[in-house]
Symmetry: C2
Subunit: 179 residues, 2 copies
DNA sequence: ATAGTTACAGAACAATATGTTTGTTATCAT
DNA sequence: ATGATAACAAACATATTGTTCTGTAACTAT
């Protein structure tokens, strides 16, 4: 990738992140992002068709980092016992904590909806293999419950209670949900 | 309230609901709502300052119905045992089911974020009184978990699996969460 | 080093949406 | 019946969006 492209792409991402700390996604205009990133109007549209595409690109970047070697490495990991799966989840929480500053602004407004949907898509893959069946409750419901609860746990943690450690959060979650 | 006001307010609400079945909230323009409701531009702005205010007003309307005599009647209801609390929750689910057609469109995009936040605000009041303490997990986390899980249960139910009954959904929830 | 390619800046542009204002007509409450 | 109020129609300024153009600077490959 061209160095110039990388630079402007980063400038846009950082400007976007900074602005999201001050105001909500929907109240944010493309012009403000352009001004904050200090680039030309035509340059922005050469990179992203719309504000939404920018948001999606940022989510993709984040989750490619957070889930980089998590989902792919099916052979390397065997979560036959519950303990090692909890370690796996805690590992994901650590990655999320690294990206905290970037993620924090992505929790409110339409932004939050899109970010959480992305997060859940990845989590479905992680939890689907692990979930044990239950004759009384539909698997679909239990999977949705496990994934949603975890996603909301992340939002609660990084949004307003980031003083807890990843290990603590993992424990809270696994003591609250049956997998 | 003036009969004319009621009529246009209803026309706007219904137009809004109809349009949300076709496209997302953020893709929806004020002009489209005006056309669908068949009212004048100035009339719309006499009722609501922005599209967001319209959405909030609709949420308030819905939840005033759903939680009408639920939260207020603290004296009348005593949920000392878990069973009667489950009945209470099931009752709320019934009310939500009645408003299903209106609610269904409010689950995606920024719309969903706002609707879910409203729903959770009410649920906090309902669950806060019922939650028993646990020495190992912060009360704040457990409350958030109970509320979020229920809100996501409602979204799952009315969004894509509305063939289940309120009683079934209540059972799914209470078998998945410790209150 | 040079030629060809690609990205950026700057400016102008049409198209669309927003929110407000004005004067008029219709409907309401009593 | 009448004064008050809501709805209407049309026009308005403003702001945002997304596109297009030209000239310039930076990168790449040979």
């Amino acid at each position: 990738m061209d160095r110039r492209q990388r630079k402007t792409r980063n400038a846009i991402f950082q400007a976007f992140t900074r602005l999201l700390e001050k105001k909500t996604y929907s109240a944010l205009t493309v012009q403000e992002i352009i001004d904050e990133a200090d680039i030309s109007r035509s340059t922005f549209y050469a990179h992203f068709e719309t504000k939404d595409e920018l948001l999606k690109a940022m989510c993709t970047d984040i989750f490619n980092h957070v889930f980089s070697h998590e989902i792919m490495s099916e052979e390397h990991h065997d979560f036959s016992d519950k303990g090692s799966f909890q370690d796996h989840i805690t590992h994901i929480l650590c990655h999320l904590q690294e990206k905290q500053q970037t993620i924090k602004g992505l929790f409110s407004g339409e932004c939050g909806e899109i970010f959480m949907r992305y997060l859940k898509e990845y989590l479905y893959q992680v939890f689907d293999r692990q979930l044990v069946d239950d004759k009384d409750i539909p698997r679909e419901y239990r999977l949705n419950h496990a994934v949603s609860s975890f996603a909301e746990t992340v939002r609660w943690w990084l949004g307003r209670h980031s003083d807890y450690s990843p290990e603590e959060i993992g424990r809270f979650y696994f003591e609250s949900v049956d997998i």
